[in-house]
Amino acid sequence: MIRSEILKEIAPILRDQLVVCNIGIPSQELHAIDDQPSNFYMLGTMGLASSIGLGLALSQPKPVIVIDGDGSVLTNLGTLPTIANNVADNYILLIIDNGSYGSTGDQPTYAGRKTSLAKMAEAAGCDRVIECQAKQTGRVLQEALDARQMTIIVSKCESGNAKMPPITMDPVVIRDRFMKAVQA
C-alpha cells in the first residue's frame, strides 16, 4: 500500500475530526480524496505539522489527528520530546512512514534504513506508540480515537505518490474555514 491508499481507507474516520496535514503531496492527496473544512492543509513549512497539531490539541478539547511523514518528522525531531512532555489526550500523530521523501522524488530517508521513528518516539518519552503495517492503519487509528489517549502511530507503507492537482485554495481561506470548524 502507498500513502494515498491509506488516506482513502481512513478518509471516513478523518472526515469528522480536526486534521492537520503535512506539506506537499500528502495534503494534495487528502484534498483530492475528501476535502473538508476541518482539514488544515500545509502549503509550506516542512516539518511543522506535528507542532501545529500539538498547539491546537493543547488549546481546545476536540480530537486532533496529524498526518505527518517520516521525512517531515526527521526534519523537526525536537517535536517528539515536546509532544512527550506536554501530554494532550486529544492528540494523535499518524506518521505515514514510506521511508522516502515522497514529495521531492522518493529519495530515501534514514527512517527507511536503520532509524526507527517508533523507537525514537518511545525514547523521547511518548507513552503510547504503535507501529503498524499500512493495512492496519484504519483500525489502529480508530482505537487511538476510542482510547482518548495521546498516541503516536507509525504506519509502515510503500513509497509512491498518486497524481493529484496542487491545492489552489487561498491559505487564509483554508485557515479561516478550519478555525470555524474548530469552533463549531
Binding site: T45, S51, I52, G53, G55, A57, S59, R175, V182
Partner: protein, 167 residues
C-alpha cells in the same frame, strides 16, 4: 518597576495564555515569571520554528500565543515566518532578546545583531526596539496592535533594557 513582572502582566492583560520559549540568559527572569503565572501555559520549544508551529496551532485553537526567543532565531525562522505565520495571516508577538548590541560581552553575538533589523525589515515585520526600561510602557499597545493586524511583530529587547550583564 520589575520589568519581568510588567511583561507577564501585559501578556495576561492581553489574554495571551500560550507562550513558547527558547531560552536566553537575558530572558531567564521573564521566563521564570511566566512559569509562575497560572493563566499562561508555558511550553518550551527545542527550536524556534517548532515554537512558531505550536503558536500557530494554539491560535487556531482559540488561544492567543506569544513566542520568547533570541534574535539568532530570526536566522532559523525566516521560512516559517513567510510560509506559515504570514502566508496564513496569523498574529504572533515575538519578544526577542537582542543580543550583540551595546554592553554585549560575546563578540559572536554581534554577527547576527548586525543582520537582525535588516532581516525583519526585509520580511515587512513591524519591529520595536526596547533600549531603556521605560520603553516597556509600549508593550501593551504593541500586543494590541499585533492582534489587531494578525501579523508577526518583533519586540527587540537589548542588554541595556535588561540592565546589562553586571558591567
Amino acid at each position: 518597576m520589575n520589568i519581568d513582572e510588567k511583561i507577564a502582566d501585559d501578556l495576561i492583560a492581553n489574554d495571551i495564555s500560550f507562550v513558547t520559549t527558547v531560552p536566553c540568559k537575558q530572558l531567564a527572569g521573564v521566563i521564570d515569571e511566566i512559569d509562575k503565572r497560572d493563566g499562561i501555559y508555558h511550553i518550551p520549544a527545542n527550536k524556534e520554528d517548532e515554537g512558531m508551529g505550536l503558536c500557530a496551532g494554539a491560535w487556531m485553537g482559540g488561544k492567543r500565543p506569544a513566542i520568547i526567543m533570541q534574535n539568532t532565531a530570526i536566522g532559523v525562522t525566516i521560512n516559517t515566518l513567510a510560509t506559515l505565520i504570514q502566508y496564513y495571516r496569523m498574529p504572533l508577538p515575538m519578544l526577542i532578546s537582542y543580543r550583540g548590541e551595546l554592553r554585549e560581552p560575546i563578540a559572536c553575538q554581534v554577527e547576527m545583531a548586525v543582520h537582525t533589523k535588516a532581516l525583519l525589515a526585509q520580511m515587512n515585520i513591524p519591529t520595536y526596539h526596547f533600549h531603556h526600561q521605560a520603553d516597556v510602557a509600549e508593550l501593551d499597545a504593541i500586543l494590541k496592535y499585533t492582534f489587531m493586524c494578525n501579523k508577526p511583530v518583533a519586540i527587540l529587547t537589548d542588554a541595556n533594557f535588561w540592565g546589562g550583564y553586571g558591567d
